[in-house]
Symmetry: C2
Subunit: 423 residues, 2 copies
């Protein structure tokens, strides 16, 4: 589709010459076969002569054992315990844009709870004509919408404020996932209860012990927020808020209340713990930036990266990554191989989708020399992803949240990559 | 987004009155609470007072136990054994358009084999300048594309030729899934080998014992076919062809060769078993329709349906389902409650996407009377999904494949539904 490559003779020639390595590699195999045949080509293999697994054996499947390393991982030293912690998405090993629920990052403040549909209740109260309590079945009777959105933790890449820390895209940028949600617009629920137009805010909380209460401006609540019950077609997973979570497009993940229990309409924000002592950014002078809800445009090269080294020598190399913006759609992504001195515009696999992950590719001819790989995202507001230093100039180094600075991977001649800082 | 409902005062009023049941239900709960408080509202529950599961416990997650019935199911009497059989997608319980790999239908001719990336080889031979053998790593060096496509088995709904048979959308229409694929255009592989323009066909086969060889016209091979290695972001599952499968947009699933082993360029089709004794439609006069590759426009109401009865009384009811076309994009879906006498145009959750599933909704006010639910899909070629009888007039009743007739669910006053025929 957006594979320019196939439509431009010039590029095509460039690739064919560039792909010499691959072709030689294959030819070499061929030559080798002439002398010592490759049994994988010349001999009947067990998987081609025996029967495989029948359809009655796996009602619900898991990845094949060879992919056992493509899983969520947590970082022990990052939090005091694993109950209030984070499990990172293995973005270094994924492609496309959809994140499978099974390996989609999870963040809890008091652990993932088990709440059945029968036990589920959603209350809406405060400045409304009639306080209501909905059962799960009630919610299923309202008109639904489907939208694909990314959910990024405000702390994603937070460890990078002090310089290159964790060695892998999974750990520097894996507090994010992207799923197709099905749910009821929050606007519908607010209208059903008859919200008071003087109510400029809502306060939402979850059914878990932390409750994780957050204040959201009514303007956003009426715009595109969803009361969601399905992700990627199926019921939300336990760790993602089963049976109902809030989906707040483009805004920090902490506001995407899981196990959604209550919505209160208010004339002012609650200023709760999760929006005062947490989820604010401490500036150099000690004051705090608050109400930093939208996640600014950001990107990262997922391969090659520390956990996904280049597996071959010079020649054709696919550089790929993800870009997203909480303020709109990604319009362009540039990639640099020299730490930001020069840039090439990457190919977007599909046109940028509003507040959803966008996959980019740079189909290049690697000369085998070391690279300082970077990616730089731009969205339809005209915003350009900044460098880490540009962010530090404005925000200092005390922040934990909202680090959308440009990431650098140092790819060595042997193909291995490392998280580094360039200034 | 396309929620007309919220923007039309008339409809809005209609809904509010229609939703009396839901509101009364809630009010009743409220009243009941006044007398005997609902502990789910008034008392602190265990999930709100204790800790949940930590992030270190589930590296790769599965659905919560309450969803244990949302799994692939096979039909014992359908095939002689489970090695060459089908496991159906639980479409009655899903929403949105993406099918999670874990419950996406699987169809094998000699079972699902286990083939590692290291053992994987892809050969291209026949009418080419240079026969080539690719390793998995070689394939990853070519430019990739991302596209979401449905894959439907030609036999989907085949049991319906003789009239209403299996009692559930999972079994009548569940031989289908819809995933976001990442792969290399087959065109790129053919150009790399230097295909002979006199080669009008390719023959493709898999590495499993059945090999499942199929002939594909070069025109299609050069158009939109993908040599895919990822689905919904992650590596293909074992049962879906790990590590590499062919993706043939809009065409019958049998051509989507799993564990892709070989591509041969030919000047004529092979006329193999899978395109002569199988995957042809026997007409009334005993002759066969062959080369019936594209899956025509089709749709089905997934809820309510036999496995998803209406869980409530009269009032607001969301009727939803899926529509797709192997010839283009879905432009419109109509829904009938009276067995096809009258039709209402449904709301498409998103604009129809080429050769991908489209989710439709009809937000209605159920009067509590029985319904004969049907859906009728239309695509951008102007094609309108036919009735089963219209198909039988042309194709007779000996066919197994390509039954895209309109499905009928008889929804009783008690909300239970049944697979029925209407003429």
């Amino acid at each position: 589709m957006s594979n320019d490559f196939l439509n431009k003779p010039a590029s095509r020639r460039a690739f064919l010459s560039g792909s010499a390595a691959a072709v030689v590699g294959v030819a070499a195999t061929g030559t080798a076969r002439a002398a010592t045949p490759d049994p994988l080509i010349t001999e009947v293999q067990p998987w081609a002569s025996g029967l495989g697994v029948g359809v009655d054996e796996v009602p619900y499947g898991l990845p094949i054992r060879f992919e056992d390393d493509v899983v969520r991982r947590n970082v022990e030293w990052l939090t005091a315990d694993t109950i209030s912690s984070i499990n990172f998405t293995p973005i270094h090993a994924l492609d496309g844009t959809i994140t499978p629920a099974g390996c989609a990052f999870e963040r809890h403040h008091s652990g993932a709870i088990e709440l059945s549909k029968d036990d589920y209740r959603l209350m809406i109260n405060g400045m409304v004509d009639r306080p209501l309590v909905f059962t799960y079945d009630d919610l299923e009777r309202f008109p639904r919408e489907n939208h694909t959105y990314f959910c990024e933790c405000a702390a994603n890449s937070g460890m990078e404020w002090a310089g290159a820390q964790l060695n892998g895209a999974q750990f520097t940028h894996g507090m994010i996932h992207n799923m197709e949600y099905t749910g009821v617009p929050l606007r519908t629920i607010l209208e059903e209860a008859g919200y008071d137009t003087a109510g400029k805010w809502i306060f939402v909380e979850g059914a878990d012990a932390s409750s994780n209460g957050r204040s959201i401006p009514m303007e956003k609540a009426l715009d595109d927020v969803l009361v969601a019950f399905k992700a990627n077609g199926e019921a939300l997973r336990k760790e993602h808020g089963y049976p109902v979570r809030l989906v707040v497009p483009g805004w920090e993940g902490n506001m995407w209340i899981k196990w959604l229990r209550r919505i209160e309409v208010l004339d002012r924000p609650v200023e709760g713990r999760e929006e005062t002592s947490k989820y604010t950014d401490t500036l150099a002078d000690g004051t705090s930036r608050k109400w930093t809800w939208a996640m600014d445009a950001k990107s990262v090269v997922t391969s090659p990266s520390p956990q996904a080294p280049v597996a071959h020598g010079p020649g054709p190399l696919v550089i790929t990554g993800l870009a997203w913006s909480g303020r709109g759609a990604i319009t362009r992504v540039d990639v640099s191989k020299d730490g930001g001195k020069t840039w090439e515009t990457a190919r977007l696999a599909q046109p940028g989708d509003r507040m959803a992950l966008t996959r980019f590719y740079l189909d290049t001819d690697w000369d085998g020399q070391e690279m300082l790989l970077q990616s730089r995202a731009m969205d339809d507001t005209g915003y350009v992803q900044p460098t880490k230093d540009q962010l530090r100039e404005i925000r200092g180094e005390n922040s934990i949240y909202h680090n959308n600075g440009i990431q650098t991977w140092w790819v060595r001649e042997n193909g291995e990559a490392e998280n580094v800082e360039v200034s």
